[in-house]
Symmetry: C2
Subunit: 210 residues, 2 copies
Amino acid sequence: MPSDHTKPGVGRSTGRPATIDPDAVAGVALRLFAENGYERTSMEDIARAAGIGRKSLYRYFPSKADLVWGGIEPVVEASGQVLENARTAGPTDGDTSDGGILAGLRAAAIAGASAIPDLSVTRGRLRLIAEHPELASRSYDALAPQRERARHYLLAQGVTESAAGYLCAAYLGATFEAWMQWAAGTDADPVPYLVEALGVLRVPTVRPGR
Amino acid sequence: MPSDHTKPGVGRSTGRPATIDPDAVAGVALRLFAENGYERTSMEDIARAAGIGRKSLYRYFPSKADLVWGGIEPVVEASGQVLENARTAGPTDGDTSDGGILAGLRAAAIAGASAIPDLSVTRGRLRLIAEHPELASRSYDALAPQRERARHYLLAQGVTESAAGYLCAAYLGATFEAWMQWAAGTDADPVPYLVEALGVLRVPTVRPGR
DNA sequence: CGCCTTATGACACTCCGTGTCATTATGTAA
DNA sequence: TTACATAATGACACGGAGTGTCATAAGGCG
């Protein structure tokens, strides 16, 4: 019964190796979206253009939105790792009034930006997201793991439970908006946008470090 | 050609008067959602239970999510009005360092909370939203008008264009999280949650009032 | 009485997402 | 070589969201 419909290509040493390249498939999908529009491109169109079956497509991308949002995962992952490391390292006790908490969030955001393999492709994805409310809405789900990690980081830094929730929400909202602003323009470096966005945050009521 | 599929019941003095009460329909829908679950309740079920046709249901609620989010509109409306008034009144030039901008945002949020007709029903709606990512995602669209009004308010107060965007995103994210926190608990008054949530915001670089 | 609008009912359609089932392909381990 | 495990295909079906059309009935108003 543990048939385990796990994602393909994850540490399996037995069985037939995967032949489908998810990145290539997503690339085909993005091209079709750009050519024919997002809504006017069906999952079947994408499967056909990628030369794979519809079911196989759904196996790698459970929803149409994942074809666009999937490429953002590396950013979330890299950013989350930085927060994870900072969290286990314990309170920072920096010299600034907030104990270097904002600096930690900033470092995480910048790490995310550094993890992007291809800036122009990512810009394309983000523009697609910006143009389609249906896709932009997904930011709430797509960034959920990020929210959770940021929350744990803040808690470890001595921020109140409630304040951590609010700060996370504001953090994600502001950084997402920064990415949208960057995508709308032509600047190469997204970091200045992120840094400015974090300027609207404030860390309240920090409990003294243990 | 201006057949204009306008929403029913808007200043029409001629023609057959509307007999369907949207609030009652939404009430039926919320009851069904609570009894059978959101996903396990189809639009046809709702139409049948409400004693109306499926097409009529779609006329008042273009999407299933609107049955839940529709009731939040009064909040957004009241909150937006406060921002609108504050905007046309021009820069506040308050005594605080941010020129009373945060106070304006706080007033708007509180005004929204005061505009709720039935707290318990609203709590039910918000809990439904919190439990279903598909619904929570919609916050980005549902609060879009609010975002726009807050942006204009901030611009009128001398905030940089880019900073206004980031502050709006953080503002909406934090207040939405505040509503979620309130809905999860049993406290009667949502205002303290909103006030604390706004504590994570900071207004950067205010251009001196004209 | 005619006009205008609301509302219904029926029918059809596209597309998303899920499910099943049988079958073939292709690697690794016994 | 054989057995096993997994990847991938193809076909077929299904529920449900959301859109569209069309004809028809109901109920105020000038």
